[in-house]
Subunit: 246 residues, 2 copies
């Protein structure tokens, strides 16, 4: 059973305003919910449908498929929906390798990048205040549970970079090749928004780097998707700073 007021509350979490007001967000799918649980997330409510076979140990409330459809953000609800409390902002004082995101707008890209940061064991992600909301359902979904583990904070990125003790590397179209740049273990890597890249004024804070393009530049694509660029940059960073690999 789910009350009307609870349905209303959960539906309000589809928007940033509702999430900020209640300090709650929605996670769907049993794997993601399990990962949030394992990472110590505070689950306020857990709903499943009658045919759901996992997560019984978490004592879910079984609801009708029609009700699940009402509260789900997905066209095909997976049958598992949790209402989760916002994480406390982590302390990133000790972080060595930081990925900074300058005003990314696509929640799917943000989620994919959080998953990448988890895979590559990046100490923290720092988002400019004008980056898409971390708890946007599409971001939560694309992070596949990695959001539960990765440290993410929101900052004024210009101030943050100016005060940082690590060297700053900003991805650009015309920077030095990442393969010709010495990549230190302690660093801040800055990726820009989908349409505008890193804001011009931030380049004063560090070194520009680029991923080489191959083939005839005139006939090829202008740029990489920001999550593709993040994947390549983080992989190369770890390859070149980790003695064990290659």
């Amino acid at each position: 059973m789910i009350t009307k007021s609870k349905i209303k509350l959960i539906k309000s979490l589809a928007r940033k305003k509702g999430r900020d007001q209640h300090q709650l967000f929605v996670v769907e799918g049993y794997k993601s919910i399990r990962e949030f649980k394992d990472a110590g997330a505070f689950i306020i409510d857990l709903f499943t449908t009658q045919d759901a076979v996992y997560l019984n140990d978490l004592d879910p409330v079984v609801i009708a498929a029609a009700d699940m459809k009402r509260i789900s953000n997905l066209n095909t609800p997976p049958g598992y929906l949790a209402v989760v409390k916002f994480k406390e902002e982590p302390d990133i004082q000790e972080a060595q390798l930081i990925l900074a995101l300058d005003q990314l707008q696509d929640p799917g890209n943000l989620g994919t990048i959080i998953r990448l940061a988890d895979w590559f064991n990046i100490d923290a992600i720092v988002c400019d205040h004008n980056t898409v909301d971390l708890y946007n359902p599409k971001c939560v979904q694309a992070s596949m549970g990695s959001l539960a583990r990765v440290n993410v904070i929101s900052v004024d990125l210009e101030d943050f970079l100016e005060q940082a003790s690590q060297p700053v590397f900003l991805t650009a179209m015309n920077g030095d090749s990442i393969y010709n740049t010495s990549l230190p273990e302690k660093a801040i890597i800055v990726m820009g928004s989908e349409s505008h890249g890193v804001r011009e004024k931030l380049f004063a804070t560090g070194t520009s780097i680029s991923i080489p393009q191959y083939g005839a530049a005139s006939s090829a694509t202008e740029s990489l998707n920001v999550s593709s660029a993040a994947a390549i940059t983080l992989a190369e960073w770890k390859r070149s700073t980790t003695g064990k690999k290659n």
Copy 2:
């Protein structure tokens, strides 16, 4: 002006059945349309709204915003929509480096990978017949015009790999590190579907390779998004086979 029958035709192109029947697909946004045009695509119809300021040299038909909304696949129509003829299947006999996709289901991933193949100058993409449709609007959109330039064919992947002259490398969770594998210029790189990876039976055709994971495996994400994995693998392939870069 746009006729009712034309609206109906274009709406039918939102589905694979309609696209296959008419051998037509839809491209939206002036940049993508320009790239298709520049790559020699056959544009059957071009529609813009009154406030559209680009592509006037292509003699567009100006239609009302309400009509554009009807024919667009996007929530916020960019104001430029072209109906384009299917490309002829390219001849890939001479292709050296091929990316093979085994039953990918997400059109956004396919489009992102086509954009990557363009950036890294991959000779051809080979899709198993059960891969999501190339002309799915979300794939066309995510490819950002690269679909106009990259050679893509559809095959029975098992047959294709068995008959290939190039060595085959299949991405897996437990393969050899790509950094410890000798990566030849002539090769077929196989990436698997989002939920199941490369099908088990295909592994007999070549060598398994993996992208190393960092940090405590027990506490980290299980896998990378397929387009993230493609980005890292293609970048590493080009880095290690191209003398010019590091």
